[in-house]
Amino acid sequence: MQVKNSGILKKYIPLAVFSLAIFLLPVYISNYEMKTLIFVGINAIVAMGLCLLMGYAGQISIGHAAFYGIGAYASAIITTTYGLSVWIGFLAAILLSGLVALLIGMPSLRLKGHYLAMATLGFGEIMYVFFVEMDQLTGGTEGILSIPPLSIGKFAFTTSKQIYYVVWIIAILLLIVALNVIHSRVGRALRAVHGSEIAAQAMGVNTSKYKIQIFVLSAVYAGIAGSLYAHFVNFINPSPFTLNFSIILVIIVVVGGMSSIWGALVGSFVMTLLPEYLRVFQEYNLIIYALILMSVMIFMPSGLVPGFFNLVNQFKQKEGIWRFLESKN
């Protein structure tokens, strides 16, 4: 049986190269740059989850900042108000964000069309109000202070380098999980739903079940990122968990290219680093985001990662024709 297994290689070589680069990077960069890369990693985790939802289930969430917030607050409240271990907080972040996603996804994903976008838009706003107004629980606009850092036993992850490795190891593990899902029976079913929902059903795919599952998974990614964020900055208030951030997340996925999980990673680097290096124009941040989005949509409508591979393919084809002509002469 000569079934080509090129898929497996395609899957693991970039993963190995990427992991190595991430592992070695701290040797060459400053403390400040490392802090920025921690944020890239946290954003990448949320974006990967959203990418699974957008690129592979064909659904949009405009409230992912809320799941990020749920993860952050769950972690913060468990570890400060209740004084429990950070890992219980981490677990709570996962369970709570997943559970809430299940409750929102069940009614809205059984319907055809983009009802999830509507539902999550509303949900995002409600959660923001919740974070601000439920001050006994969330500390209101003041937020929650002195959240403990992640730790194993007596060892706490406090320096930038330590946090960098924790965040990126988790990000890479979640990247592997995402790749596993994509290259599986479930992932194929989801891509099939994206291609033709009725044909997927005719092939025995329970479309609403898989859409709900992938939505829950994407919310869990956001919850994990939220928890990491809370334990990294040690202080949270409602301001990062707004509609604005939800939209930036969608832009990250679209700019990177939602048909590839790598797009979410590249998008996170571009959209987190560019504004950082263009600090001088800080007040024009939104304009910069818009410009990036517009240029990508015009020149690489499928996003940076798929766009790059299209270019490579075109180049290869041209080269092929060239060789063909040469051999004729």
Partner: protein
């Protein structure tokens, strides 16, 4: 015992009765065709059988089990598969991957096991790829296995739809105008393929406009006009049937 039996199946869209109290049976191992002029309700019958639309009245039995009201994915699991008149491939997936989706109802790996790639998942994946590869070979599109479905020719797309439907291991396959847009050579090959599918023990039920093909390969033909069944029987009798001729050609003018 009939493999598939529909009884008094009725579906109306507003005032238009698309399918009007139709019944017929399909026996195991048959090649049965459903014909009729455009708008006679043929595709609607396919949609009713496969659960894509709900009938207003009537019932469908598969192996004498009532399947009316089941969801499409449940019906697919039971062993009824179909192709689509307006081709519904997964365009951004390769030919092999399209067929692999068809293995869905006969395989198990769920979300959690897939996410952590537990050992049985790897084995199952290998089996899925191999089975799909065999099917691509059977249907004759194996040379295009790694091509994206959207880049196939029209004839290849029709074949891929059939391969994908066969991957679900159906007892009966419903082919919706499989010869539409095919040239004579391709149509001839399609006829051969339908025989080979039947020889695998799969019952074939097709909607088709190409009368040459229908009359050549079918064991029995059902004729539909304005949602009503007007004739049923072996091809030779159907060709002679006055009502059928009338439906297709109109009434003969009475000569004085």
């Amino acid at each position: 015992m009939a493999l598939l039996r529909i009884e008094k199946l009725t579906k109306a869209y507003g005032g238009l009765v698309a399918v009007d109290s139709v019944d017929f049976k399909i026996y195991e191992g048959q090649i049965k065709a459903l014909i009729g002029p455009n708008g006679a309700g043929k595709t609607t019958i396919f949609n009713l059988i496969t659960g894509m639309e709900k009938p207003d009245d009537g019932e469908t039995f598969f192996n004498e089990q009532g399947i009316t009201g089941l969801k499409p994915h449940q019906i697919a699991r039971l062993g009824i598969s179909r192709t689509f008149q307006n081709i519904q491939l997964f365009g951004e997936m390769t030919v092999l991957e399209n067929v692999m989706v068809g293995r869905h109802p006969r395989t198990k790996a769920e979300f959690f096991a897939s996410a952590f790639r537990l050992p049985p998942v790897g084995r199952e994946e290998k089996a899925i790829a191999e089975d799909s590869f065999e099917l691509a070979k059977f249907i004759g599109i194996v040379s295009k296995a790694q091509t994206l479905a959207k880049n196939l020719s029209h004839g290849e797309r029709r074949l891929l739809e059939i391969a994908r439907a066969l991957a679900t291991e159906p007892e009966i396959i419903l082919l919706d105008e499989p010869a539409a847009g095919l040239n004579d050579r391709e149509t001839g090959e399609l006829g051969e393929l339908i025989y080979r599918i039947r020889d695998k023990g799969i019952t074939v039920f097709l909607v088709e406009h190409n009368m040459g093909l229908v009359m050549e390969i079918s064991d029995e033909v059902v004729v539909l006009d304005h949602g009503k069944k007007i004739a049923e029987g072996p091809p030779l009798l159907i060709q002679e049937d006055e009502q059928v001729i009338e439906a297709y050609l109109g009434k003969e003018i009475e000569h004085a």
